[in-house]
Every structure is written in C-alpha cells, then in structure tokens.
C-alpha cells in the first residue's frame, strides 16, 4: 500500500474517534431505559476494551487524544450502566419486572 501523509492519517484518526464516540453516546442515550434491558456481557466487555484502548490511543503514532477522551467517556458510560444493572440484579426483581416491561419506552413505540 502506498504511504499516506501524516495529516491524512490524523484525519482518519479523527473520523475513527468520531465513530467511536457513538458507543458512549449510545450508552448515555439508554441511561434512562429500564435496567432489565441492559446486556451485562456486552457492557462489561466494553468496559474492559475501553481500559486497553485508553492506553493504546497514546502509544500509537501519531497519538490520538480525541480517541483518549472518547474512551474516558465510554468507560464512565459503561461503568454507570453496569452499576445500574448490578443494582437491578441485586434488588427484588419479582415486583420490578412486570411494571418495568409495561412502562419501557422502547417497547411502547412499536
């Protein structure tokens, strides 16, 4: 592959960081949803992935501070979601679930 200029790589890095911002934005957008809709497997996977890529975004060349900021936000978003799910999982689910399913906003739209 032909070598690309540094400014081009930085530009694609910005596009990559912008695309990555969709992950924390998606998590923050579903922060008012019912905690029973949270997928604990994917949320914890995203939390671990963000820790590694916070470090990675500075180790590569050219460094990508926009990506670093994105992963800080993502770590906060995923840990918040995981905390909400943990609170729901440890609470008495028997009374929460039927009412919550009836009142879930994404269910009502359909």
């Amino acid at each position: 592959m032909a070598a690309k200029s540094a400014s081009y790589i930085k530009g694609v890095g910005m596009v990559g960081a912008f695309a990555n911002w969709m992950i924390p934005v998606a998590a923050f957008a579903s922060i008012t949803d019912d905690p029973s809709r949270i997928n604990p497997g994917m949320t914890s996977a995203l939390a671990v992935y963000s820790l590694f890529f916070m470090r990675w975004s500075l180790a590569i060349s050219p460094p990508n501070p926009a990506l670093f900021a994105c992963h800080v936000a993502n770590e906060a978003a995923q840990l918040t979601q995981l905390f909400r799910y943990g609170k729901y999982a440890m609470s008495d689910k028997t009374e929460a679930t039927p009412a919550a399913v009836a009142a879930a906003p994404s269910e009502q739209k359909k």
Binding site: V15, R37, M42, Y49, F52, L58, S61, P65
Partner: protein, 132 residues
C-alpha cells in the same frame, strides 16, 4: 518515531505515556518479560489492545448462539454504533504506526466485529418488521 509533545498542554500529565507501548515498565515487569515471552506480548499494548478487542466480537457471538438475550432485547443503539466503528477502524488500522501483527489483528478483529454486530442489527430489524 515517538511523537513527543503532540498532546495539548492540559494533557501534559499524559506525556510520559506518549509513544510508550509498555503497560508496565518497572524493574519487576521487565525481569518477568525476559522469563515469560507471553507476558512480553501482553505488556506491549499494540498487541494486547487488539487482542482485548476480540471480546467485542466473541461475547455477541456466544450470545447469538445461546439465544440470551433474545432477539427482541438486542440493544439496537449499541449494536449499530459498534457496526459503524468496526467499519471505520478496519481501515484506520491499516494506517497507524507501528504496522505489526497487532495492527493487522486490529484490522481483522474490526471486520469480525462489524459482521457480528451487523448480523445482530439485521436480525433485530427483521424481527421488528415481521412483528408489524
């Protein structure tokens, strides 16, 4: 090669990490690197970060096979965001420096991530359309 002080000034506390791929660089970790070659791989973040990103394809794949969560509980926002980042990052991985086994792994794992989450988005959309 290490691009020192390209970070903005308010992030100057992160400058020691700039262009430094070692996760742990204390004496004990460097001694362990010599004895355990696998730890040396893990300690280089340009290898271990792409390896860690594989969980973003493996977890939804296991969940798709086990059927838990069911198709109507797939998080459409999360899945579509991961589909788009997978597509952009498969290309970005071919541009960054260093170009090594880690960056190639990053390209392949982003392609896998885009396809698994694309499949999840597609089957959720098909389920929603059939219900109408």
């Amino acid at each position: 090669m290490a691009a020192i002080s390209q970070l903005p000034s308010f992030l100057r506390f992160l400058r020691p990490l700039e262009g430094n791929a070692k996760l742990f660089s204390n004496a004990a970790a460097l001694a362990l690197e010599k004895r355990v070659p696998l730890f040396a791989k893990f300690n280089d973040v340009t290898y271990s970060a792409p390896a860690a990103k594989w969980i973003l394809s493996i977890v939804p794949l296991i969940q798709a096979f086990s059927g838990n969560p069911p198709v109507e509980k797939i998080d459409l926002k999360q899945s579509s965001s991961l589909l788009f980042t997978g597509m952009v990052w498969a290309y970005y991985a071919t541009l960054i420096t260093p170009q090594n086994a880690g960056s190639r792994a990053l390209c392949i794992c982003n392609m896998a991530m885009a396809s698994v989450h694309g499949y999840n988005v597609a089957r959720r959309a098909r389920h929603d359309l059939n219900k109408q």
